[in-house]
Symmetry: C2
Subunit: 268 residues, 2 copies
Amino acid sequence: MMQQGQSPIQSRRMAERAGWYGRPVTPAGTAGQGKLSDLLQVMGVASDERPAGEAYAIPVRRLRTGASLFHEGAPADHLYVIQLGNFKTLRMAEDGYEQVLGFAGMGEILGFDGLSKGQYQTAAAALEDSRVYAVPVRALDTLRQRVPAFDRALQAAVSRELRRACEIADVMSAVAAEVRLARFLVQVSSQMVERGQSPRRLLLRMNRRDIASYLGVAHATASRSFGALADAGYLKVDNRAVEIVDLDGLKVCARNTRGTLEDMAARA
Amino acid sequence: MMQQGQSPIQSRRMAERAGWYGRPVTPAGTAGQGKLSDLLQVMGVASDERPAGEAYAIPVRRLRTGASLFHEGAPADHLYVIQLGNFKTLRMAEDGYEQVLGFAGMGEILGFDGLSKGQYQTAAAALEDSRVYAVPVRALDTLRQRVPAFDRALQAAVSRELRRACEIADVMSAVAAEVRLARFLVQVSSQMVERGQSPRRLLLRMNRRDIASYLGVAHATASRSFGALADAGYLKVDNRAVEIVDLDGLKVCARNTRGTLEDMAARA
DNA sequence: CGATCGTTTGACGGTGCTCAATCACCGTGG
DNA sequence: CCACGGTGATTGAGCACCGTCAAACGATCG
């Protein structure tokens, strides 16, 4: 199980060298400030619009791997847009158990859930060295009024965040662990497509523990599920580098809300 | 188990007669139209503001029990605010399995997740006879610009919807079925408080099947969990009428991300 | 090269899913 | 008024799957 020797990819470092999930167009790195127009571009607004707000400067925050962007319960004074990198959002149960709610990448918005109560309802932590635009909540109304493009982008981003929120329910509604993992991988694959990258070669930024938490299973079970999907011929797995060999098959597998891989094989 | 004879509440009808979860202040029922000021009131905006938009009339839709407000994938042309009644939001898996994503009551917003793609990403169905304000998406921008109070209310409602979205993750992150149910009941209880009603006497509007789907367990398991919590002395259950006898105890139980009721008893 | 963290794999016991029967409740129609 | 069918809730039996515990292995970094 989990082919070792003949696999073309041996380690994460090698994977990155080989150009797996090659870094997207990295916006030229400005230090502590960013232009509003860059922010809008990251958020996916057509750049041929030249809004009046060109002059606005947006603070940029840098975070190292593992650093937390904001904590659950902290006063929600900023709204963040990811310029570069990847994050996880999570909630801490009172008994210290950490529930991962989702993963977010470039262009996605973080912290909006804090607006209604003035406190963040979730926490966010960087999965790798990252940069975010930090939009002060106090400036939100002004910005939205003066720059309609920003307003629209914000609305779309929030709606997207809502969609993301129900993806976790999608995953957890499956009973079998392998099916949950299959759904997760299909989600990641779709996001790759949205970003104009290969839907088959994934380099997961999060560790098994985070994935397991997101799937709602034990981390040992998550690991076994990777093995099961690999054995079934859907994937090639090497640590965090995952190649989807049979995407259609994986999607069929992901459909099965009830029943396991065995049942699928029996049905065929 | 599940005390029968001496229970003060025998049936749902009796429960309603007895004033359990007595209907909230029902806004005077206007037929096909509603005033914007009423809408704002339902959304929880202080009513002493008298916005310029008083003249706006908002269409009102009525739905009978079980009727669906919108389907998944349908063009998202309206945003809905619940005037009266209760709804469930759900997604249909390709294999026909129905995953309940959450429940929404008076003042809450439905359909916002459709804005980014122009199609509803979830479906919504009435759990009882209900009424909703139907705000045309095309009128959204205008309305928000002309009536700042509406804009703020909308932003708060969306943020609230995001909070609701992660409640399901909260529930599902528990391993034991009884703990999931306990968390759900604590959620419902909290909502009762937010609406200024008794946190102890619940009249659930949804059937066991919907609850089970929301909890991510089989409906037989959901039923057993009600029994278990009742046996443990936290609840009195009579069909959809639930009285929380020991709210603090229930909250303690809800904390246990891992481990079951047995473990709690052993620890004490 | 050692230390630490992350991943994989094993064994075992328990929980919950499936299937199915029974019961309670309700509206209908004879 | 009661017999009847339909829906929803509860309960039971059996077995597979997954969570817990534990150990070995692999990767990464100083």
